[in-house]
Symmetry: C2
Subunit: 295 residues, 2 copies
């Protein structure tokens, strides 16, 4: 007899198209309510992700699709897209894998290129112009919620909002003295959400698909999980925007202001079936936004 | 120029003996205040971990030392120790690795053995007899804090406390209908702390060392991250209690009621140096209890 743990929360993505392994009607547990809500959400509750905002990174480990967030880090995202279009990430390397923390990679060094001009900090941005859907549950760090499909937080005192550091969030590495990074070095979170990094670093997006083989890379043996030798560093073979790839899947994210998403949040906070005692709450990093690839 | 992210929180263990890679006095960043507090904590702020409470699991991936928590799950821990002593985990298998969730393993099936009698649930226990140090920060799920070196939570309404599901927590797998598991199938958390499992499953301990290569195992291709074939399942070669291993290191955990631990919590919630905007708070799963191997 094989003993199991529940599926919910486990998948980094909730692909509405993917059949749930527990979706056979006669055996479907009640705790899959969120899956049913996602599968049945009307088209109007989904938002198309622009193909030009998806960075597709092929590495020795696999292919990772990353959604960029120009509304939160416009200068960094523009710099990243320029690096992608000029092929600067091709032949880059994954340089660091630190357990319960991050996978970090870097563009191909270009000694001929002068150091890029500093970018604005973009650690947070004014709330003005953003639609914020607050989480119904307490957050340890700030007022948690969602901005148009993104896990975010805000501070009424400063009138600012920012992308939260959760599993699969993508940010820009920087040096120890506060600078902003030049976008040639990026990382994604592969452990418990390090929310203390919020407002201390520029977040530029999140992984839509393909994080699994990267999160399973060997941890680096050096301080901070850096790989010791060049040979250890997994190669980045090619990076393109989805808009440059003919036939690349169209991606959508659930509208976090929609009734479907509110129902997903409720279902995840009040799981039944496997759970004799539903939590009655859920923290921001567990309340991931459903995304899906569509035909 | 290599761009870095800060070390704190990254390490699954805070080994006071291990030199910090950033500990050279001329370069030590201020944000390593927690490391300094740990390194300088007096002996009286540390608690010896009984060698009989440490399960040492050798697998194809590496060796993992797990501290058991008899004060929270006495029946399950007794069952696990009996399985270890009779060699039932030797030649077991890691059967499941699910990204951002768990690594799960199982004892060697023993067809000759009758099914074990059900164990008590042990999902939570009375507060009576426990010393609870509350976290100074808000928690989404309950009243968070520590019980004698363990990340825990409590509910004043029920007068109960429980071990929290955080990175490296070890629990007992069970089937979908609420039962308690028979301790032949265990898992450890390798993703964002799934606190919704709190009080829904029996937590029996935490990984002290060696989680890294196990968290880096390939994710299983089947539903819930189960491996598809027997050949994929990493072998468990041998499991013993530390008390059965001559010369095994003595381990200690920081006394979470000590001033040193209170200072560590403050330092982690108020990082400086790399952090232009300290969070001013930290959630339970990031406030890990320092542990160390001593001579």
């Amino acid at each position: 007899m094989r003993r199991i743990l529940p599926l919910l929360l486990a998948a980094p993505l909730l692909l509405a198209q993917a059949p749930s392994p527990q979706a056979a009607p006669e055996t479907q547990p009640v705790y899959n309510a969120a899956d049913s809500i996602i599968a049945n959400a009307p088209a109007s509750h989904w938002i198309d992700i622009p193909a030009d905002d998806i960075m597709v990174m092929e590495t020795a480990a696999g292919t990772m699709a990353i959604q960029l967030a120009p509304q939160f880090a416009p200068a960094h995202v523009a710099a990243i897209k320029a690096l992608v279009r000029t092929g600067q990430f091709d032949d880059g390397r994954i340089v660091r894998v630190q357990d319960n923390y991050v996978v970090q990679w870097t563009a191909r060094p270009d000694p001929a290129k002068p150091k890029a001009a500093p970018l604005p900090a973009e650690y947070e941005r004014p709330m003005a112009g953003l639609s914020f859907t607050p989480s119904p549950y307490q957050d340890t760090y700030a007022q948690a919620g969602w901005v148009s499909g993104w896990q975010a937080a805000r501070d009424p005192a400063t009138g600012t909002a920012w992308l939260a550091h959760c599993y699969a969030t993508v940010g820009v590495g920087r040096d120890n003295p506060p600078d902003t990074g030049d976008s040639t070095e990026l990382y994604t979170v592969i452990g418990h959400g390090p929310r203390h990094l919020d407002r201390n670093i520029a977040n530029v997006g999140r992984v839509l698909s393909g994080i699994e083989p990267h999160a399973a890379l060997p941890r680096g043996s050096e301080a901070l999980g850096f790989y010791r030798t060049e040979a250890e560093k997994p190669k980045i073979t090619r990076v393109r925007l989805a808009s440059q790839i003919p036939g690349f899947a169209r991606w959508q994210m659930m509208d976090t202001a929609s009734p479907s998403f509110a129902a997903v949040v409720q279902a995840r906070a009040n799981r039944t079936g496997f759970f004799p005692r539903p939590a009655g709450a859920a923290d921001l990093c567990t309340l991931r936004v459903p995304v899906r690839a569509v035909k």
